[in-house]
Amino acid sequence: MVTCEQLTLKVERDLGLDPRKLSAHLVSVGECSDRSAFKALFDHFAPRLKSFYIRSGSSEPFAEELVQETFMSIWRKAGLYDPAKAAASTWIFTIARNLRIDRLRKEGRFVQKEEFFFEQAMVEEGDQEAYVDQGVIGEAVEVALTQLPSNQAEVIKLSFYEHATHAEIASRLQLPLGTVKSRLRLAFGRLRTLLADLEQ
């Protein structure tokens, strides 16, 4: 059992961007309300989250406010974080995505408190065998993304950065809807094959 003191020491030594260190920071926030770990996460993710919200159509001041709200959520929910199931960046992405849906609601919502479902999905105990190191998975996906044909990477980025629907991507890129879908399908298929190889 790692004590909070040991975790804090570890955090002070490792202020780099290694995904495993980011995950350790997040665990430390959850277990010990560790402020220096929280600051390290903030320094790394706040400028990225600000870009994420600006790309989602938010003004700069509002993006700044959403970054604050994201980190209040991270502080509140860090105890739920399980490093065996998700890298810190993946977990924080889901919080930011849900907050964006909730606060920059161009798509509308389906129940009053839609975040409820996402929170449940995050709390839920998956019965999948998550023995593959999440840092390894993240690195593999990162490499795979750089190796995607540029037209597939483009539709992936439009989906995740600008939350463009299939129809919106088709209209922006002047492509048939079927082409957009098949590019997304090919890209996801390639990532899944790669992850399946890792799990063997």
Binding site: F42, L49, V67, R76, G108, E114, A121, L145, H166, L195
Partner: protein
């Protein structure tokens, strides 16, 4: 046993948060009964995490972290595992809502028998769901009477159907509770409720269906599919 699942591109866009509320309701409803698709979503979310890491940096204001900690301290925001979760599900599910996907339970005032179904054609009833929709989009429950054959039709846009109760069959296979069918413009199909009970489906369409044949075309405005 669920045999038909949402497509990869639908799972990916769900994970990206890049779909309409109606489509999100649809996918959430399937996820609530399908562990293997929840796992697919988790895989797609890894892509989101990697892209968040790779995005350019926009500096935040110099005192942003101090402001944040001041807000956290003044709100006494707790690092609690259960904070805020589980409070919205105050509705008590009626007997025939048991087994219904939870996102739908929260939207419906009662079980299927208590809903105000509207007849749209012989053998077909519909119940529009109270969800914000995009222009041209529809989200509703459809109830097909046993043995009823829907007029053969194709789709201009995209249609997603999930069986909630009963089953239907068409040229592409048999669909039972939890199964999902996604249809695009190219496909003509003619679904039929294939057991002795009503087949109730959750259906999201993003453009009006096109019926084949003159009579069906005349019927279209009346049916309003």
């Amino acid at each position: 046993m669920i045999n038909h699942h949402p497509s990869d591109e639908t799972i990916l866009s769900y994970a990206a948060g890049a779909m309409s509320a109606a489509s999100r309701l649809f996918v959430s409803s399937h996820l609530s009964v399908c562990e293997s698709c929840r796992e697919r979503v988790r895989t797609a979310e890894v892509v989101g995490g990697v892209l968040l890491n790779d995005i350019e940096c926009t500096p935040v204001s110099a005192d942003a972290f101090d402001q944040l900690m001041a807000r956290i301290d003044s709100n006494a925001v707790e690092t609690s595992a259960v904070n805020g979760v589980g409070t919205s599900s105050s509705k008590v599910a009626s007997a025939d809502m048991v087994g219904l996907p939870e996102p739908l339970q929260l939207l419906l005032d009662g079980g299927f028998d208590e809903l105000k179904w509207k007849t749209v054609a012989p053998g077909v009833k519909q119940y529009p769901l109270p969800v914000d929709v995009l222009p041209g989009e529809k989200v509703r429950l459809l109830k097909l009477s046993p043995g009823f054959v829907t007029p053969e039709h194709s789709h201009h846009g995209h249609e997603m159907t999930m069986v909630l109760k009963g089953s239907f069959s068409d040229e592409t296979g048999r669909y039972k509770a939890g199964d999902v069918q996604e249809m695009d413009g190219s496909v003509h199909h003619q679904p039929i409720a294939d057991t002795e009970e009503d087949c109730i489906c959750l259906v999201v369409t993003d453009a009006p269906l096109q019926f084949k044949g003159v009579i069906n075309k005349l019927l279209q405005p009346f049916i309003g599919f």
